[in-house]
Symmetry: C2
């Protein structure tokens, strides 16, 4: 399953050998992998739905100059390049196409600079998100984007997908934390975008164009990131509801009342049960709970107490069967661990395929109800978990990986959820990206004029369709 490459690169073995020679000369023997036993480890990301092919080679450059050498060699031989970080993606954007060169950035993992006086960091793309967070925390600073895979995903991947996470409700997504980038373009030239200053409007915002472009426009080799002051240790609120409608109403009310928690997550009954079984613990939701809301405030002291008290009151008004606030760090961390454990917990029941839709925050209840209906229709478990404060939900379908029939039904549910998200005025991807699984959906969401604009920009910056061809959209 998933074994259906989208682009086939036609080249002879003679040109392949020549290209490999060039690559080895530029990167050294250990920078170029062609061992068929090792290649599969770089063929695909975490999304089972996405097609993938077999690369000609995997390269692991150590510098911008080495990336330039790879790009120039591949351009000369018209061999496509698929850039890749750690492979934690959930859209197949980093999946290999047959005959391509997979360019892995994990060896470019230097934190080049942390400048506390100007609250910024300069990093290479292979830096692991958590490593950056730890490095800047020493200076009392905070890099907000925290995708679920933050302990192994890389900044380069985060930039390429415009990654989100739990922090977004208060601190925005990756693009909101990027000041500038260094990118190797299709002609091998180095483009520096943006700046080191907080503000700047000199020219088009190329930085934000490359953020979220999923490796289709160039290879990011460096980024200047804006940091924030480290927030206060958070207080945490957990509230249980007898219906998802009640939980959804509480979320809408929090938004309407102008409260901005630093985290606001929702788990449905399926998620709660899976996590409780997996962690062998009670989340305090009580039997028969249909939904759990998890909120934090990092405003500190009296402000945090006031914010969480206001949210607790809203939850009670919305009919919460339980609402509990804690400022105990261990208890708060335990609740967050439970939220983060949902996908792992679902593995008890089978393989999972996680979707990613973002709907207006007033539509969360309808989305969850629709997912329950879809679950019934396909006869598979669908756990709904997500960033309620943003309306960015991750309905996750559980299926038996050995059953083609279940895989097909899971795929149907996956698509029905996207259909539902669009019908509710939402988008087909809130943070995972389009990659190789949602191309048709992207075309539908942005329409023919939008698609033409995308193709025009891609052709302008990458005229030979060198970078990640067939990802996000096709050129014809």
């Amino acid at each position: 399953m998933g074994r259906s490459p989208t682009v086939t690169c036609v080249h002879t073995s003679a040109t392949s050998a020549e290209l490999l020679d060039h690559l080895r000369t530029a990167l050294g023997q250990d920078g170029v992998i062609t061992d068929p036993d090792v290649l599969p480890g770089y063929q695909r990301d975490m999304m089972p739905l996405a097609p993938y092919g077999t690369p000609l080679a995997v390269v692991l450059p150590r510098s911008t100059e080495q990336v330039q050498a790879v790009v120039r060699a591949c351009a000369r031989h018209r061999v496509p390049i698929v850039p890749r970080g750690a492979g934690s993606g959930l859209s197949g954007a980093a999946n290999a196409v047959d005959g391509c060169v997979v360019l892995v950035t994990t060896r470019m993992n230097a934190i080049v600079e942390v400048d506390p006086d100007n609250r910024l960091a300069v990093v290479e793309p292979g830096v692991v998100n958590l490593d950056l967070r730890d490095a800047v925390e020493k200076h009392g600073l905070f890099y907000p984007p925290d995708p679920s895979s933050y302990d192994w995903c890389t900044i380069g991947g985060n930039l390429s997908t415009n990654a989100g996470g739990l922090c977004c409700v208060k601190y925005g997504v990756t693009t909101d934390s990027v000041l500038g980038m260094r990118v190797v373009l299709a002609d091998g030239e180095v483009l520096d975008t943006g700046r080191r200053t907080v503000k700047g409007v000199a020219g088009y915002d190329l930085t934000k164009l490359f953020v979220g472009s999923e490796g289709t426009l160039g290879v990011i080799t460096r980024a200047t990131l804006a940091l924030r002051p480290l927030p206060q240790a958070p207080g945490t609120l957990v509230a249980a509801f007898g219906s998802t409608g009640a939980a959804g109403a509480a979320v809408a009310r929090v938004v309407r009342e102008g409260l901005v928690p630093s985290l606001m997550e929702i788990m449905d009954a399926t998620s709660i049960q899976a996590v409780e079984a997996h962690l062998k613990t009670e989340l305090g939701a009580g039997r028969g709970s249909a939904a759990l809301l998890l909120c934090q405030s990092d405003s500190g002291g009296e402000a945090a107490r006031r914010e969480l008290a206001a949210i607790e009151r809203i939850c009670a008004d919305a009919g919460a069967t339980l609402a509990h606030t804690t400022f105990d760090a261990a208890e708060g961390a335990m609740l967050l661990t439970a939220r983060r454990a949902v996908l792992t917990a679902l593995e008890t029941y089978g393989a999972w395929m996680t979707d990613d839709v973002c709907v207006p925050r007033t539509k969360i209840t309808e989305l969850i109800a629709g997912c329950a209906r879809i679950s019934d229709e396909v006869g598979l478990r669908v756990a709904v978990v997500g960033h309620a404060g943003d309306g960015n939900m991750h309905p996750t379908i559980v299926y038996d990986p050995t059953s083609t029939d279940e895989f097909d039904r899971a795929t149907r549910a996956f698509n029905d959820i996207l259909e539902l998200g669009l019908a509710l005025g939402g988008t087909i991807t809130g943070e995972h990206g389009v990659g190789k699984i949602k191309r048709d959906w992207l075309a539908r969401e942005i329409g023919p004029v939008g698609l033409r604009a995308h193709r025009a920009i891609k052709a302008a910056l990458d005229p030979d369709n060198l970078f990640n061809p067939g990802s996000m959209f096709t050129m014809d």
Copy 2:
């Protein structure tokens, strides 16, 4: 001065007449202005340095469809279009080129929708910034971007320049408040970018590409804007310093200590004196003050008191000769009025030409010192005022508008300040844009690869260079 059009459109009077006929048919007689007595009111913005030409006509469409009709007619006749809002710009981006059609969006001034439950508004481009602020405030909501001209500039202009203001230190610039846009492209087609949801990564971030593109890629006819909860009434701190170095040190310390005031402005001695004379009031700076810092916190209650007390302590440590905090709304508003009055106050001495550089926040002192040196060198008054919390400074040169010599020296100072900004690791524009005055500087800041990328994107979306030709950069 300034009368040197950058692009000349060659067309015969016969084709002009035909185009005007088309425009009048599409927009009605009152939607097309050719009266030579009225045209000058639409020829230029507020930047005296910028060249401007004489338009063939000024059009005032009332709808997206009328904008499409204008674009198609102009495209057919190869007559350039210069989009324009209220004309409050400070870079000449909206200045006419000879023979062009100036497309004025002020009649498209509907606030189409305010959705408090999802914290967003949908507006047409001609809505005045202040009118939007007032409209959403009724719902307890806040549209942050507040350029100095907020009581007359339009949202369309704000989007096109990625406008900033005093709010940016806490709330970011215009691009941070935009969810989606409707844009008429060079072929007359309508492109809808973005979404109504808080998060979304479906495709390239075309929204943020159009924001700040200064009318060179299309005509914005609608925008979906993200709103925030209305902040608390602010407390205000004013601190006076005997040297700009002491004020700069205080700013750096505020940043380093992780404080995020909702406003942090600096005024140098020249600005203080001008305002005191103009408003016939004492700003409490005392005689001989070299700089005034003005800070606000809108965090409310105890949090605001704590923030301002921390800043007051930092100012005192940095050697402030005076530091005074007030929670009296009238007193706070008076101090803000003084800050906003600087440019008007400088008119007592002559005409002004305001620059716009953004430097790392640690470099503010050096920038102010450099401006004093430049002032001496050219023999003209240079008042430095700006958004200290972002490093975005507006050194403003005062000159005698009847003297060519003073204008030339002012121009020299203007450029010397840009040179200084770049040398300090900054950018040539923090919020005013490139327009028709900083093209050469843009080329220098972004380099040849950056310029090529700009031209490639412009050519991809506007192959006949229809929109605002010669603004921001040239195509050859």
